[in-house]
């Protein structure tokens, strides 16, 4: 049966983004298989087609991907595992992963990668065997992205690859290297994914970069990352996270001002204060609407004590 679904999506976006077939299917399947999928003769299970579509930052309905009953069972189990990991119910996730390990086609790399990624997340959450967890993650990533090919700038990622690469960057001791890796992931997310997926996958990464820049006291880059996070949240039609982000921005702007003596001139200070207070007002109103009273009070105190502006109800 000719199934003109996933193939249409793959072919359209491959041409649109001017990517080679190898870039999309490398490590996942061979070019002949990829060509068959693109032409509409799918002979692979849902994890393969799903991963290919994800490397283009797209998503198709699961119903469109399913191959047979076994494939359906495995897909349900994968979704259940992801759900439990998201909820941080690691005990149930581990139990389900064992079940998945028993039914998955062990010779297929994507299943093994999903399994190892899940196991590593459980280990990392336990906190006792971090070394082994990171080893597992590297092994999992190597299955589809061999290390020597891994260092090019333009990379495409499936959701599992993205998760693994993010966890590895998060646990990277060298901060400059971690930042480079996270920027590469962000580049992929922002270039190929829609606004909702940018919020889902990109925001946690930008938030990590924000924390890093705060530690390094690099206010200029910190403000750039805060603006990036604010744009991601706003464009995905979300709001709750904006209270914290605008408040961080107000504080970073004030720290930056304190560092630069030349800005202390009378002409500059009023405008700077206005900008800071505006950030605080935005942060305050979002926190108030979202009933985040703790944050709201912090913003009020900062505005009053540091900026000399009283936010009135």
């Amino acid at each position: 049966m000719k199934i003109n679904t996933v193939g249409v999506v793959l072919s359209h976006y491959r041409k649109k983004y001017q990517l080679s077939q190898t870039q999309i299917c490398g490590g996942i399947c061979g070019i002949p298989t990829y060509c068959r999928i693109e032409k509409g003769y799918r002979e692979v299970d849902s994890l393969v087609s799903q991963s290919l579509v994800e490397r283009l930052g797209k998503q198709v309905l699961e119903f469109e991907l399913l191959l047979n009953e076994e494939d359906y069972e495995r897909m349900l189990l994968r979704n259940h595992i992801k759900e439990k990991l998201q909820e941080k119910d690691f005990k149930t996730a581990e139990h389900l992963l064992d079940k998945y390990g028993a039914i998955m086609p062990k010779e297929e790399v994507l299943h093994k990668q999903f399994f190892l990624c899940g196991k590593a997340q459980v280990l990392l959450a336990g906190g006792v065997d971090k070394t082994n967890a990171l080893k597992m993650l590297r092994e999992a990533l190597n299955l589809t992205k061999p290390e020597d090919e891994n260092d090019t700038e333009e990379q495409l990622y499936s959701e599992t690859e993205l998760k693994i690469a993010y966890l590895l960057a998060l646990n990277e001791k060298d901060e400059a290297r971690a930042e480079k890796q996270m920027r590469r992931l962000l580049h992929f997310i922002e270039k190929y994914n829609d606004k909702t997926r940018q919020e889902r996958f990109g925001l946690p990464i930008v938030k990590e970069l924000i924390q890093m820049k705060k530690r390094q006291r690099e206010e200029v880059t910190l403000i750039e990352y805060l603006d990036e996070a604010i744009t991601i949240v706003s464009e995905s039609n979300k709001a709750a996270a904006l209270a914290g982000l605008h408040f961080e921005k107000a504080m970073a702007m004030e720290r930056l001002f304190a560092k630069k003596e030349c800005w202390r001139e009378k002409k500059e200070r009023p405008q700077h204060l206005k900008d800071c207070i505006n950030e605080c007002l935005m942060a305050y109103e979002v926190a108030d609407i979202m009933e985040n009273t703790g944050l709201r009070e912090k913003i009020r105190r900062f505005s009053e004590d540091t900026l000399g502006w009283q936010i009135t109800e």
């Binding site: 996933v6 359209h12 998503q59 604010i230 949240v233 942060a283 109103e285």
Partner: protein, 314 residues
């Protein structure tokens, strides 16, 4: 990942179409199979699903299955058009609509989409009247969801597909513009009954937006109390699901409700300060989201009503 409850859609569509399982599965699959499919115990094959839906005069919506290469281009053009409409940038939307019309070809769903959207765009651009808008959308509804009226006063839940929901939601808005607000409320309630059975993935967004529209319909028939309650409800839901635009609009509408009650003498004039405060809250919320469309709407309205700027003087 979207959760597409195929069995539910088939069962609900069959019930809505008044078919028995035997009638539906004839020459397609066995009665045991259809029963298992409807109960979610059997994964339906794509081809079977299409044949079943075709027999009930439905097509699977929001689904890449209906795409050919040209359709992918149309989907992207649609996304651009919808982006411009969301920003109330009707000039740009006009350009995208022109492109869409050029690329549409003979695809029936695309042609219907164009008819629906261009009717609305023409109305916003004041090229057609509200009466003409109703006429165009009614014509379309008769083609796409024939006989939907029988579900208006019925308890039977009809599993409308996403594009049908959008069409009927738009029809309700159009009725609201011609003063037929009772009918608009009935249509909205019918859609909510369907959506709330949860057969469709990502239905919350539609639910909140339909409830938001209902608030306006109740206002226009003079039932301000229900309208205000609905607005409050929208705000709670928008907060729960973190829906930014809905939140700022519900906040502004709450302030609007207070202002009207003050002007009708149902509230003390001293409450005007609370009303202004609420409007400013909505404004700074929109500023936090850099929502230029609502920022302009809120500040223009505030200036018009109170003769002063909405921003706090620093």
């Amino acid at each position: 990942m979207a959760n597409y409850r195929v069995g539910d859609i088939i069962r609900l569509t069959r019930l809505a179409s008044g078919l028995t399982q035997e009638q539906l599965c004839e020459n397609i699959c066995s009665i045991e199979t259809i029963s298992r499919i409807e109960n979610g115990k059997h994964k339906v094959k794509r081809e079977t699903y299409h044949r079943l839906m075709e027999k009930m005069n439905r097509f699977p919506e929001k689904n890449y299955a209906i795409c050919v290469d040209k359709d992918m281009q149309i989907m992207e053009e649609r996304a651009r058009f919808e982006g411009a409409m969301a920003k109330h940038d009707f000039e740009t939307a006009d350009c995208y609509m022109k492109l869409l019309k050029e690329k549409a070809g003979s695809s029936a769903p695309t042609i219907r989409y164009i008819r629906r959207e261009s009717a609305f765009l023409d109305f916003y651009q004041k090229r057609i009247t509200a009466e003409k808008l109703v006429e165009l959308l009614k014509e379309l509804a008769e083609e796409v969801v024939p006989g939907y009226e029988k579900f208006l006063d019925s308890d039977v839940v009809f599993p409308f597909m996403e594009q049908e929901i959008i069409l009927l939601k738009r029809l309700a808005i159009a009725y609201g513009r011609t003063g037929e607000n009772e009918l608009a409320i009935k249509i909205s309630k019918m859609l909510l009954r369907s959506l709330r059975t949860g057969y469709m993935a990502e239905w919350r967004e539609h639910e909140i937006s339909i409830i938001g529209d209902m608030s306006f319909f109740y206002q226009r028939i003079g039932d301000f109390k229900t309208a205000a309650e609905i607005t409050k409800n929208v705000l709670l839901m928008a907060k729960k699901y973190d829906e930014g635009t809905m939140m700022e609009e519900a906040l502004f509408n709450s302030a609007w409700d207070i202002l009207r009650e003050i002007r009708r003498g149902e509230r003390q004039k001293s409450e005007l300060a609370d009303c202004k405060k609420l409007m400013r809250k909505a404004y700074y919320f929109a500023l936090a989201r850099n929502d230029k469309t609502n920022l302009k709407i809120f500040s223009d309205y505030y200036r018009e009503q109170f003769g002063e700027e909405i921003e706090i003087k620093l």
